[in-house]
């Protein structure tokens, strides 16, 4: 990648995400219209002065819906990723640190989860629980924790062979203390990278579930569901789909890019190449 993109990419992606997060927080102040109740007279307007991104078939302002939809997408991403990271890290630490039978048992469970395409599995679970925000979040956590457990386990196994872990045990520190104080902080940088990239992935998966009708229920604005809403009008009013689609793409790309940049920044081997 060109050095200039590399250099500014991280700033741009952080800036963009910060902007989107701020807009989502202050959605009530920023959005020009009510996202849920439109004027039926103003149906299917193209972008104009009153509705910068146009209106949908119910006369609802697409810009306002995108702004409010950011709340849903971001909160799903953040809730799912933080829960998955917590669960995955705890399980990975136990598995990697103690090894043996515990590790074997945990890893076979993780393997069985990873054997299914995760979106399909989330779809199945969401279908089982029924549609809705909470159920979608639960379904996504169930499929999302496994890679974190894997990553943490591998990092811990690496660390366990390190002299300073042996030294800590040799100095009489208990297992829990060694895990929390010496092992965990050393797993943070790969974890941060994976969680950042994971945010983008979860937002995409949530949009997918909502698109298929398993996520947030109308009239709550959600990007994935907005795509579904617009698919009948793709020939006559493509902007109904284009703008939410673009938002999903931008957010996912920004998180992915941020994740990549963090990896480059945190991995000392990569750093040497860049310098």
């Amino acid at each position: 990648m060109a050095p200039a993109i590399k250099k500014y990419g991280i700033t741009v992606s952080i800036g963009l995400l910060a902007f989107i997060i701020l807009v989502a927080i202050f959605a009530g102040q920023v959005a020009p219209h009510d996202p849920e109740n439109g004027k039926l007279d103003d149906r299917l307007f193209g972008p104009c002065a009153e509705y910068p991104l146009g209106t949908d078939q119910m006369g609802r302002c697409i810009l306002s819906r995108i702004i409010f939809g950011a709340r849903i997408s971001l909160s799903v991403g953040i809730i799912v990723v933080s829960a998955s990271v917590t669960v995955g890290t705890a399980i990975g630490l136990i598995s990697g640190y103690f090894g043996g039978l515990i590790d074997e048992a945990i890893m076979r469970i993780v393997d069985s989860f990873l054997a299914f395409p995760s979106t399909l599995l989330a779809l199945g679970i969401a279908g089982l629980f029924g549609a809705g925000f909470i159920n979608m979040v639960i379904a996504l956590i169930i499929v999302d924790w496994t890679p974190y457990a894997r990553l943490i386990r591998a990092t811990v196994i690496d660390l366990r062979g390190m002299e300073f872990i042996k030294a800590s045990i040799g100095l009489g520190m208990g297992d829990l203390f060694v895990i929390l104080r010496h092992v965990l902080p050393n797993t943070l940088s790969p974890l941060l990278v994976m969680a950042t990239t994971g945010l983008g992935y979860v937002i995409l998966a949530a949009a997918g579930l909502s698109f298929l009708g398993f996520g947030v229920q109308p009239p709550t604005p959600e990007w994935g569901f907005m795509l579904n809403d617009g698919k009948m009008f793709i020939r006559t009013a493509p902007y109904i789909m284009i703008f939410p689609g673009m938002m999903i793409m931008i957010v996912v790309l920004a998180f992915n890019y941020l994740g990549d940049s963090l990896r480059d920044l945190l991995d000392p081997r990569m750093k040497m190449v860049i310098r």
Binding site: G172, M173, N186
Partner: protein, 321 residues
Amino acid sequence: MITDERPGENRPLVEVYSLKVVFPTDDGIVRAIDTMDLSIREGEKLGLIGESGCGKTVFGHAIMRLLEDTTKVTGNIVFRGKALYSLDRESMRRLRGKEIGMILQNPGASLNPVLTVGSQVSEVLVLHKGLKKRTAWDRVVGLLGRVRIPEPERRAGEYPHQFSGGMKERAVIAMGIASEPVMIIADEPTKGLDVTVKRKIVRLLKEVTVEKTMLIITHDLDVAEEVCDRIAVMYAGELVEIAPRGAMFERQLHPYVQGFFQSLPDRGLKPIPGMSPSLIHLPEGCRFHPRCNRATGRCRTEHPEMIDTGDGRCVRCFLYA
């Protein structure tokens, strides 16, 4: 059991009874330590010497019960009247660091890279001395000063990567002595240090362990000569000779030990022919016989036992039977 306890001397602090350590690997069973009997007296500095892979580090870890779970240990090690391999995990953990301090080889890797050096030393104080984090800090600075780290107040807040190799070793020593243990196990404390730094570290180690019992594991005879009262030499997983320092440096009894001393640069640089046997496929009879120029028919078939030759010396060789 060979006891070299003599009247008027301190009682033994550590007694090792027919210790055997084996661990399974993909290539076969490694007999890392084969029937070791040894005692370390209170206040004594014992040097455990041998080439790489002879089992000396395994012995250090065996005392601390730091071996992997797959390792099979038989026999026992008695420390201050407690049979270590009969203790439960929690009692063993309380003993580590508090009563036996450890200075591991490879100072570069013995410190956690993401924590400041001071906080790592303070952990030991908080854990074993029951100090509060804030009060521990003064002690940390004191300890770092004691191991001659310049500007200890500032250095305590720095990370391991800001330390040089010698400084890291000093910090590791500070951690080892922080809880004022009665015994220190120093595993290759001078590995990877250059000669001038090495000398300073050895002097420091001697200084901070006065009146402590120390097991120093090394392949460096200079270190052993400087620090130890008594020297034990290991070959292929077993002890082959034990002698007081003076006697050992004056005259070595076991042909391997003679060869080991002569192989060093300032003692002739004469290598011992052949290779150390693998701990998986050990030779019959005396383990050194394939490389020994004084081997007889008996050496090939019969395994020699430790022989007490008097004056606190023991040797595992038929020449002295």
